[in-house]
């Protein structure tokens, strides 16, 4: 029976397994002579063009993006965040960000700051990972152009109060970039309802697609300076990159095999409904929380209520190094999880786990309660060894 268990608890890093259609679509795209999207007009190229277009449209449907031309394809969430941050900021701008941001936000901001181009202010978060909204209200400056917010922390799963933050920023005329790396496909996101200016996300986590796929949504009216310029297959006689979206922000051959897979991942979510994914992941997270709470020596971080969190849970075990816990979980039980700092050092400072880090468990769409029972049984045994009880 244990052979049927899903022991993969690292879906926050990349989701696994994927829906079957994701594998077959990506393979088919490579095996058949699909052409280079956007290059020339033969039938093979058209077949690729259609796939890429359908992927834009499906993503548009998922996030209520009316104009698929505003869905820009790129490598991953990091790439999308870089495009947004470096494409919208100018010398002298001030940027706000929360302590829960990932290095994919912290590092681009740090470089621009060190080069003397921008100034920044960090909005502190409490030990559950929620940002201090009073602090935010007083942090705006006349030069503040952008606020970057992690929709959900990859360390604790904490969901940021997105509506309140966006409302506050827009009141001050500040644009908001939402990092949805952890929430796209896992939590319903309606860009119109939230009035999101830019939404950065990856294809290989909640959207259930292949790695190497990601996207940036840019609200109509916002013009970003391209991070990359080059071949688009259109307006080739011009020596400057086309101004028309989405080509304006895309250069070079797209990852069409990856996008073929991503289209199927998104179709799977459209069929199964993100709201129902969210419900089942909330239930799993509650169950995981309650099972881990029973284990002596385990300290859980992040929100107690699964409503305030994605299906991510970080913990430490008294007397044990996180790396050791991860090592034993894998080598004695075949359970896969992530240990350490999870690329978000400030988040660990906020929750009090810097520099030792945490063990992070992230069940996914294909995890069930039996899998969690097996995991908590394993952790109970490890805890007994570690605490000597």
């Amino acid at each position: 029976m244990t052979n049927d268990l899903n022991r993969y608890f690292d879906n926050a890093a990349t989701s696994w397994p994927k829906p079957e259609a994701v594998y077959t679509a990506a393979e088919k795209q490579m095996r058949l002579a699909y052409g280079n999207p956007g290059r020339s007009g033969h039938t093979h190229t058209l077949a690729s063009d259609r796939l890429v277009y359908q992927a834009r449209e499906a993503i548009g449907k998922l996030f209520n993006i009316k104009d698929p031309a505003r869905v820009v394809f790129c490598l991953n969430a990091t790439d999308a965040l870089n495009m947004a941050i470096k494409g919208c900021l100018q010398k002298g701008d001030h940027v706000l960000y929360t302590a829960m941001e990932h290095n994919s936000v912290l590092r681009p901001l740090a470089r621009l700051r060190r080069e003397g181009l921008i100034s920044t202010t960090m909005i502190p978060c409490n030990d559950e990972g929620f940002p201090d909204l009073d602090y935010l209200e007083n942090a705006y400056q006349p030069e503040t152009r952008l606020l970057v917010v992690n929709h959900a922390s990859n360390v604790t799963g904490t969901l940021a109060p997105l509506s309140k933050i966006i409302y506050s920023a827009h009141n001050k005329g500040v644009k908001v970039l939402v990092d949805a790396a952890q929430t796209a496909g896992a939590v319903p996101i309606d860009v119109e309802d939230y009035d999101i200016d830019m939404l950065a996300f990856t294809g290989h986590k909640g959207l259930l697609g292949p790695t190497g796929t990601g996207s940036l949504y840019v609200k109509p009216g916002i013009d970003l300076t391209p991070l990359r310029e080059g071949g688009t297959g259109s307006q080739s006689e011009m020596d400057v990159h086309p101004e028309t979206m989405p080509e304006r922000l895309e250069a070079g051959t797209l990852n069409s095999a990856g996008l073929a897979g991503l289209l199927e991942g998104v179709n799977f979510l459209l069929e199964n409904d993100v709201m129902s994914v969210r419900r089942s992941e909330t239930e799993l997270r509650s169950y995981l929380y309650s099972r881990l709470q029973e284990i002596k020596g385990i300290k859980i971080y992040g929100p107690r209520s699964a409503q305030d969190s994605t299906a991510v849970l970080s913990f430490t075990l008294e007397g044990a190094d996180c790396g050791d816990v991860g090592y034993i979980l894998e080598n004695s039980y075949g359970i896969i999880c992530r240990t350490g700092l999870h690329c978000a050092p400030l988040a660990h400072q906020a929750i009090g786990t810097f520099p030792q880090g945490t063990v992070r468990l992230s069940p996914g769409y294909f995890t069930d309660k039996n899998d969690i029972d097996f995991l908590s049984g394993a952790l109970k045994e490890i805890a007994e060894l570690s605490t000597g009880n």
């Binding site: 277009y53 688009t232 307006q235 086309p242």
Partner: protein, 97 residues
């Protein structure tokens, strides 16, 4: 003489978006490589009956598509065709021809 009409696009995105919109309509059309005699920013063009080009254009513009040019080409077999670039008035007239 038999003619075909063509709509060209600034980018592939708009060509495929046009196809996706027209799929739900009753027009006879084809996405084709841009004929050599036409110059276009994007390698794919829409080919349709000349009597339909005006209403297709209107439909695509209603859907906020960016279009580049409109052409009429005589179907001349292997002879090199001479395209006629069409303006708004030509397009309007064509629908009654």
């Amino acid at each position: 003489m038999a003619y075909k009409c063509y709509i060209t696009f600034p980018t592939t995105f708009f060509a495929i978006r046009a196809e996706s919109i027209l799929k739900n309509e009753d027009y006879a059309f084809k996405m084709v490589p841009v004929p050599r005699s036409i110059s276009s920013s994007c390698g794919t063009a829409l080919s349709c009956d000349c009597g339909d080009i005006y209403s297709i254009k209107e439909l695509l513009l209603d859907n906020e598509l960016e279009l580049e040019g409109y052409y009429r080409i005589e179907e001349a077999g292997f002879k090199k065709p001479v395209p006629a670039e069409l303006n708004e008035n030509d397009l309007e007239k064509l629908q009654y021809d």
